[in-house]
């Protein structure tokens, strides 16, 4: 699975769970998810659970931080690094 596919899967998940009815084009690779409140603390945990189950990776508590989860691009990089 390459980076665009990871972004697409995460984007679909976030649109369905946290932005229902939102124009998909409004959620870009650089849209800030945590710092704008799209993902609150519980939503972040749910995203982490989704990433683990969907991509077969394991994330540690210290990895569930804004640097890794604030944008689709950052999430994709995190997943890629875990799968490498």
């Amino acid at each position: 699975m390459d980076e665009p596919e990871i972004k697409a899967a995460v984007k679909t998940y976030i649109l369905n769970e946290y932005l229902p009815g939102e124009d998909p084009a409004a959620l870009t690779d650089t849209t800030e998810l945590m710092t704008t409140g799209i993902l609150d603390s519980i939503a972040v945990l749910k995203v982490v659970t989704f990433l683990e189950s969907h991509f077969g990776i394991t994330l540690e508590p210290h990895e569930a931080v804004v640097e890794n989860l604030n944008t689709l691009s950052a999430i994709a990089r995190l997943v890629m690094s875990k799968k490498a």
Partner: protein, 415 residues
């Protein structure tokens, strides 16, 4: 929903329309009548049994036990024998394997028939914040060890999350956990722990680093008697006085790795899961009480005569009862819809928050209305309405205050 939505369409016409739609493949057989607001015959039977059970087994000396803050272990055991504590848990652990709607139906029946709100609250706390997270996140060994006892009444569960400086902002908790070899060592203080004075098992949350917020929290299941864990003085409180509450103090409380509930750093997920269940189900007993109060007020307003006519004929009295009826019906829809969403494995966070908010605030209002309708008599302890009013206030506070529920709903609306 079986009745036509418009008055000018007959039921026979609707059947014709549906049949036509089926022939053309617009709707399929299994999509006819997708909404049904009735409980199944089995659920109705269970609810009726719960009403009779609670009415005959749980209501003795409640006024005295409320005044003296006495928890009924006997009532607890009777509930376990009836199957209350094990209702949503799998049969392999001694439960009944019921889904959320059936469980809610039973709890509504208990609230209708039973007047010991404190005992029912204690059971709710035990089920939703101890048994349910153990079922979801417990290891096979933890489930095997604890769930049978949590079902059959031998064990009483408690949950410790709130702290002096972490109430609504729960993930700012300061109770620390450090790792020492394969053990964990916990230090801190939990407040408002329902069942603490009588609990055998505690689900407790602690953080490895407060700076990590939700990501730093881990859940633990710790037995009574573990060195370093002690319960503080029993707390006096306004209502739900037959449910006992105290602090839990952790002082170098060392537990083995087998006490970890869920994964390290995923305690917030465990807590969130238990809160979702609790918000959805804990007010089902209050719903039953609202229905009982409504019927009681209707009967009273019909029988009580003043100025030569039943007081129900006075609009100021009738309007109160109408409002009680509306609140009950709306509350019922919200709770059962939330149960349905959970049963369908659909996201229920916002719906559970709406149910929690609306039912709790409606419960308080209806309790006050019931007192007002009964006049001076309603103010007297012997009628038990004043106790129910005191009990109701807690519902706007536990499992997240009304303010927090509004925050959750606003977030769900992307505000």
């Amino acid at each position: 929903m079986r009745s036509p939505a418009r008055d000018d369409i007959s039921f026979a016409e609707i059947i014709q329309i549906v049949a036509g739609a089926q022939r053309w493949g617009v709707i399929s057989e299994n999509r006819i009548i997708p909404m049904n607001f009735e409980l199944t015959p089995e659920q109705q039977t269970l609810q009726k049994a719960a009403i009779e059970f609670a009415g005959s087994e749980l209501n003795s000396n409640v006024i005295e036990r409320d005044a003296r803050q006495i928890f009924s272990r006997e009532g607890w055991q009777k509930c376990a024998s009836f199957g209350v504590q094990g209702m949503p848990l799998p049969k392999e652990y001694g439960g009944r394997g019921a889904g959320p709607i059936t469980t809610i139906a039973m709890m509504e029946g208990l609230g209708y028939g039973g007047s010991d709100q404190g005992l029912l609250f204690a059971i709710n706390a035990h089920m939703w914040t101890c048994s349910i997270p153990l079922l979801k996140y417990g290891t096979p060994a933890q489930k095997e060890k604890y769930l049978p006892g949590l079902c059959d009444g031998r064990l009483i569960g408690a949950n410790g999350a709130s702290e002096p400086n972490a109430g609504s902002d729960i993930f700012s908790m300061q109770t620390r956990v450090t790792k020492d070899g394969s053990d964990y060592v916990l230090n801190g203080r939990k407040i408002f722990v329902t069942n603490a004075p009588v609990a055998d098992l505690f689900v407790l949350y602690a953080t490895v680093d407060p700076q990590l917020g939700a990501a730093g929290i881990s859940g633990f299941v710790i037995e009574k008697g573990t060195a370093g864990l002690r319960t503080g003085e029993r707390k006096d409180k306004m209502g739900l006085r037959t449910a006992l509450m105290a602090e839990v103090v952790l002082e170098n409380c060392r537990v083995p790795a087998t006490a970890l509930l869920g994964r390290e750093g995923r305690g917030a997920e465990v807590f969130h899961y238990s809160m979702a269940w609790e918000r959805a189900c804990i007010l089902a007993t209050c719903l039953g009480t609202m229905r009982r109060q409504l019927e009681r007020c209707i009967n009273y307003a019909r029988a009580r005569t003043q100025f030569g006519q039943p007081i129900g004929k006075f609009q100021s009295v009738a309007n109160r009862i109408v409002d009680m009826k509306l609140r009950y019906e709306a509350a019922r829809l919200l709770i059962y819809k939330t149960g349905w969403l959970m049963q369908e494995n659909k996201s229920a966070d916002m719906d559970a928050a709406m149910a929690k908010l609306y039912v709790s605030e409606s419960f308080v209002k209806s309790c006050l209305d019931a007192i007002q309708i009964h006049g001076g008599s309603g103010f007297m302890t012997e009628l038990e309405l004043e106790r129910e009013m005191r009990d109701s206030v807690g519902s706007t506070l536990y499992s997240g205050t009304s303010e927090i529920q509004r925050n959750i709903i606003a977030r769900g609306l992307r505000l």
